[in-house]
């Protein structure tokens, strides 16, 4: 014990001699933690309660995450207010209200183990400075705190608390350019591994989905298909790369909506373009919930919508730059 402490001090002393080098290493170690989080998320069974805090509101929820043969299943239940439940598997989402299950959304199934692509990692390094902020205790676990500070004010600062043993994300905060808390999510209780209730995975299967099992995927009426729509937005901040461009059904039977997604590795911006249907309820303008900001605007015969975990002025800037380069 004592010897290791001495060695640690010697190492620390030596590394301090090469301070700039140490700084560089710290920087990349921050991004390593991010890779660990994404890997751990898709490997680990866990169940816990967390609080989500945004805009002077606090809500408590329970999340259960189990890995089955067919990939991960997640169940999210609200613990206060009206009873809601969301079950998610391979990009398909069911919501459970009043013991009735209905499919509310579906995406193309993603890879089993999503991870940071090299391109995303380099975008992250270009646009955020990662700093290790030591250790803190969250939900009874020891956590490494990592701060990702953006180089511009077009994106938020992200602060994450990573469980040092399992690599799970125990707490995450989003801060604005004045270091004011925008939203925060933190486990208050968490069980990692061990005996976790899986009965809901089977139970959920037949309910409310006539003629289709829980594993039925690629229901073509609900899944988007890739397109090259010709829509562009030059106002997308530096470092965001296009990760998806699809046409997808939305709002029931209306005409398909074009969705283009850009990601910088920590946050994403989605652009939705659809024909304006003259619905007077369509509210133009800016709205927000926590870090998520949404901006609607009717331009000509189209309704543009931009959504992202980015500051309000960024979604506005992106929307105002949307144009079709004639395809």
């Amino acid at each position: 014990m004592k010897l290791s402490a001495v060695i640690f001090r010697v190492l620390l002393g030596v590394s301090l001699l090469f301070a700039p080098n140490v700084f560089g290493e710290e920087n990349s170690e921050g991004f390593d933690w991010l890779k660990i989080v994404i890997f751990a998320e898709h490997q680990t069974d866990y169940s816990g309660a967390f609080v989500y805090q945004h805009d002077n509101q606090v809500s408590t929820s329970r999340i259960t995450h189990v890995i089955e043969k067919h990939g991960g299943y997640e169940k999210l239940e609200s613990l206060d207010g009206p009873q809601r439940e969301i079950v998610r598997h391979h990009g398909q989402i069911w919501s459970h209200l009043d013991h009735e299950m209905e499919q509310v959304g579906s995406q193309q199934a993603r890879g089993k183990f999503p991870s940071l692509l090299p391109a995303q990692l380099s975008a992250l390094r270009e646009n955020y400075r990662a700093t290790l902020l030591g250790y803190e205790r969250v939900a009874g676990y020891n956590a490494q705190v990592v701060l990702f500070k953006p180089i511009d004010n077009l994106r938020y600062t992200h602060k994450i608390w990573v469980h040092t043993d399992s690599g799970l994300l125990l707490k995450a905060a989003v801060l604005d350019s004045k270091n004011k808390l925008v939203e925060q999510y933190a486990f208050t209780q968490l069980q990692i591994g061990g005996k976790i209730d899986r009965s809901w995975v089977k139970q959920s299967k037949p309910t409310g989905l006539p003629g289709s099992g829980f594993h039925k995927q690629h229901d073509t009426s609900r899944i988007g298909f890739p397109v090259n729509s010709g829509w562009v937005a030059d106002g997308i901040p530096m470092g965001y790369r296009k990760t998806m461009e699809i046409q997808r059904p939305m709002h029931g039977n209306h005409a398909p909506v074009t969705q283009i997604v850009f990601s910088d590795g920590l946050s994403a911006i989605s652009i939705f373009i659809e024909l304006e249907d003259g619905d007077e309820d369509d509210v133009e303008g800016l709205s927000g919930r926590g870090a998520m900001n949404l901006y609607h605007k009717v331009v000509g015969k189209y309704l543009y919508t931009v959504v992202g975990e980015v500051p309000p002025h960024t979604v506005m800037r992106v929307l105002d730059s949307i144009r079709n380069n004639g395809n």
Binding site: L34, I38, E41, H42, F50, Y52, H54, D55, N56, Q57, S59, S61, H65, G72, E74, K75, L76, S78, G81, P82, R84, I86, R88, G91, S95, L97, E102, V104, G105, Q107, P114, S115, Q120, A172, Y185, T243, M244, R248, M250, H251, G252, S263, L266, S267, A268, S270, F272, G285, L286, S287, G288, R289, A291, M292, N293, T305, V307, E309, P312, M316
Partner: protein, 173 residues
């Protein structure tokens, strides 16, 4: 006087004439207004990127119309200051300023602003249930989903306690 100002601006007055004119301008309010107007005309003719336009008098007049506030402290004065700031901004019709300012204000004051400025929407409102489809569609592709599993779906199902139609929040039809 107007002709003299114009001539002076074109550099057509002698030095002693200029001095007399400048003294007159200093002494006379109407001459100062003419002076400003001629510069504005000149600016517009030159078609620059920015035109200097003196709004101070207009703003001062609007400020004089505002009720005088004697509220000692606390919430009341804060809100009235906001109301005053908002109306001054409205007189400039500067939507950018308005949206910036309303970001500084909590969501609870949004309806109040909407009432005062019915021509301008509250800049950052609560996301309406009918927009939840977009959040849901976005969330699946967000890196935050990779990092936290489904936990960030909480954003798409978040609600207020006065939410009267929770069922509609998640409906796709």
């Amino acid at each position: 006087m107007k002709q003299e100002i114009s001539a002076f601006m074109d550099g057509e007055l002698f030095e002693d004439e200029s001095e007399i004119l400048l003294d007159q301008i200093k002494g006379s309010h109407s001459a100062r207004k003419n002076w400003a107007a001629y510069h504005l005309i000149g600016d517009v003719l030159r078609q620059p990127e920015h035109i200097h336009c003196d709004l101070s008098a207009k703003i001062r007049n609007l400020m004089q119309d505002e009720p005088v506030l004697f509220a000692p402290r606390g919430r009341a004065i804060r809100e009235k200051t906001r109301a005053f700031a908002m109306s001054a901004a409205a007189s400039l019709a500067a939507i950018g300023v308005v949206s910036w300012m309303s970001l500084q204000i909590g969501p609870e004051s949004a309806p109040r602003m909407a009432m005062q400025l019915n021509s301008i929407r509250p800049a950052k409102a609560e996301i309406l249930p009918k927009s939840n489809d977009y959040l849901m569609a976005h969330q699946e592709f967000s890196p935050s989903t990779d990092m936290s599993g489904g936990a960030y779906y909480i954003r798409t199902v978040s609600y207020r306690t006065d939410d009267v139609q929770p069922r509609n929040n998640l409906r796709n039809k």
